[in-house]
Subunit: 339 residues, 2 copies
């Protein structure tokens, strides 16, 4: 199906665009009262993610309500460990918790790597529904966590400020760590290809915990697996967003991806120099959206001027915070669209 | 009193040293069973911090047990908000919690800025005891949180991944924010001067949450207040450790401090270029200490070679993690001392 608005894809491929495309990470989520209504009906975050109809509904909401130039499938990066036989729970005010974690080589052997499309059929079905309902209005973004970030949760079993258990594994058991990272990578490639087959027009890899690794460890334990994913995905553009990995920008810029996401700490001019041949995405501090419309416009315009119009996708430097007023998100989006 | 081992101070001042001085952040703490015994006797972290005798005892433990080249007074950066009339509690597995936070201008006016030496007499008394008991063996480091980090806790009331409430305040109420940051700065200067008068030989400013700010906000709301502190403290060398503020290294390098601390994400060669005229401190990934002695030695030596022997103080890039084997910390320290 031809897309009526393909700005995001053209920008990703480095083609000329008549205006800058814009979307925001976590746009399908708690900022919208329409989302919270569906979420309440679902009873839990996981129920919502596992219901293709409801997941499709909240995926499309920001396209209708906020006017973004792309939808991103409503899901969670932790569906991958779940499909590998490590289920998780979402604990209120605490986040994800895995009752079972990976501690030994035996635990790694016990992980499932088969029938991933089947285990994650609810995501694939949601993608098909979204594509049908969007009817070509805007592209749909698929996604997965980067292998190192998934590894962190599998070892640690929950969020952590330091992920010191996961890092300890890298230092004390590098071979076991590599075996686990490779399994995650293989499953992730299968999963992303299934998303693309179902209709995803671009896929984004989220390396949420990239910033906790030293530059040496990031080169050794993160980059090689992201590289495999980038090399394997030739069907659509790929975006790599490695939050906090400012030290790895040059290396990420040499991967086979088309777009590199920046967080709000990263200097725009420096990043353009370090990543000269790719489209950049980002990077407004999500806290700017707590300010007045004037402040949002001023900060957004300064960002757009610094990035320039081509090879650029406007976004925040992180997911939008749940207590942000949607009118302020709309102000951000409208400022980009009328720039 | 003359110091028998003044390597740390000579390195801080940029004087030549015959070997590299070494200590570790959080050395007086849970890694040592001797600490845990005193902590159990005290009943709570806060009781321990408020008892000059016990605080002095745990301050000196790592000098005796680990052989470090400096002691750092056992305390917490949150004693400053407490002295300003915002007491905190330490909640097991959760960290500090402030029952009362700052929300309005009225709350700022209500903060205490008087008699700081009196309110923090327990720290000052502990410093005097430590100096007496150390009897010149090694220098004693005093410390305080940087104004922005203290601001974060005062607004947010607890730890946070994003400190979005604190950042929201900066974006929506810049003038009120500045008033609060100034009050914290004034109190911090008084407090550090009292520590120095009591015997601290060097003071370190910890900007633990520096990394959550955008470069622009860091320049506007963090640097000016750290600068005031550096300019006010002429009695001893000052170390600035702004975790995560890689983007501000050049600016920090121009402050009136003598030492700049680096976290483990920061490239050593790049940091030497960005901060050419100061002593650097850091920056081994604390997770390296989970590895074997061989791995610890290899990583430590690589770090020492990269920093070079002069204008350098060996340390970790963050506080030592509580579950680290003290023998491994000792291996790190011995590797530096025999380099």
């Amino acid at each position: 199906m031809n897309l009526k608005n393909d700005l995001l894809l053209r920008a990703a491929k480095g083609e000329e665009v008549e205006r800058i495309p814009v979307w925001t990470m976590r746009q399908a989520g708690r900022i919208l009262k329409e989302y919270r209504e569906v979420r309440a009906k679902a009873g839990s975050f996981i129920n919502l993610a596992k219901s293709p109809e409801m997941a499709a509904e909240v995926t499309i909401q920001p396209v209708d309500i906020l006017g973004v130039d792309a939808a991103i499938i409503f899901s969670d990066i932790l569906v991958v460990p779940e499909a590998m036989n490590l289920p998780y729970e979402m604990v209120e005010k605490k986040g994800p918790v895995f009752p079972k974690t990976v501690k030994t080589e035996t635990d790694i052997h016990a992980l499932n790597t088969e029938d991933i499309e089947h285990h994650l059929a609810y995501v694939i079905d949601a993608i098909k529904l979204v594509k049908k309902e969007l009817n070509g209005r805007v592209p749909l973004i698929g996604f997965a966590g980067a292998p190192f970030t998934i590894f962190c949760y599998m070892i640690e079993g929950k969020g952590s400020k330091t992920f010191s258990l996961a890092k300890k594994m890298l230092y004390t058991e590098p071979e076991i760590s590599r075996a686990l990272l490779q399994k995650i990578t293989d499953v992730t490639i299968t999963y992303l290809k299934a998303q693309i087959a179902a209709g995803a027009d671009l896929v984004q890899i989220f390396d949420s915990w990239a910033g906790i690794l030293s530059p040496e460890q990031y080169s050794a334990f993160a980059i090689p697996y992201i590289k495999q994913i980038c090399d394997a995905i030739q069907e659509t553009p790929v975006t790599v967003f490695a939050k906090g990995a400012y030290f790895a920008r040059e290396e990420i810029g040499q991967l086979g991806c088309q777009v590199v996401g920046l967080d709000w700490n990263m200097s725009i001019s420096e990043s353009r120099k370090l990543i000269p041949n790719k489209t950049l995405q980002g990077n407004l501090d999500p806290c700017v959206l707590y300010g007045s419309f004037n402040e949002i416009e001023r900060n957004t315009k300064a960002m757009l001027t610094a990035f320039g119009k081509q090879r650029y996708i406007a976004n925040l430097g992180h997911g939008v915070y749940p207590d942000t007023n949607p009118d302020n998100v709309k102000c951000f989006i409208d400022t980009v669209k009328s720039f």
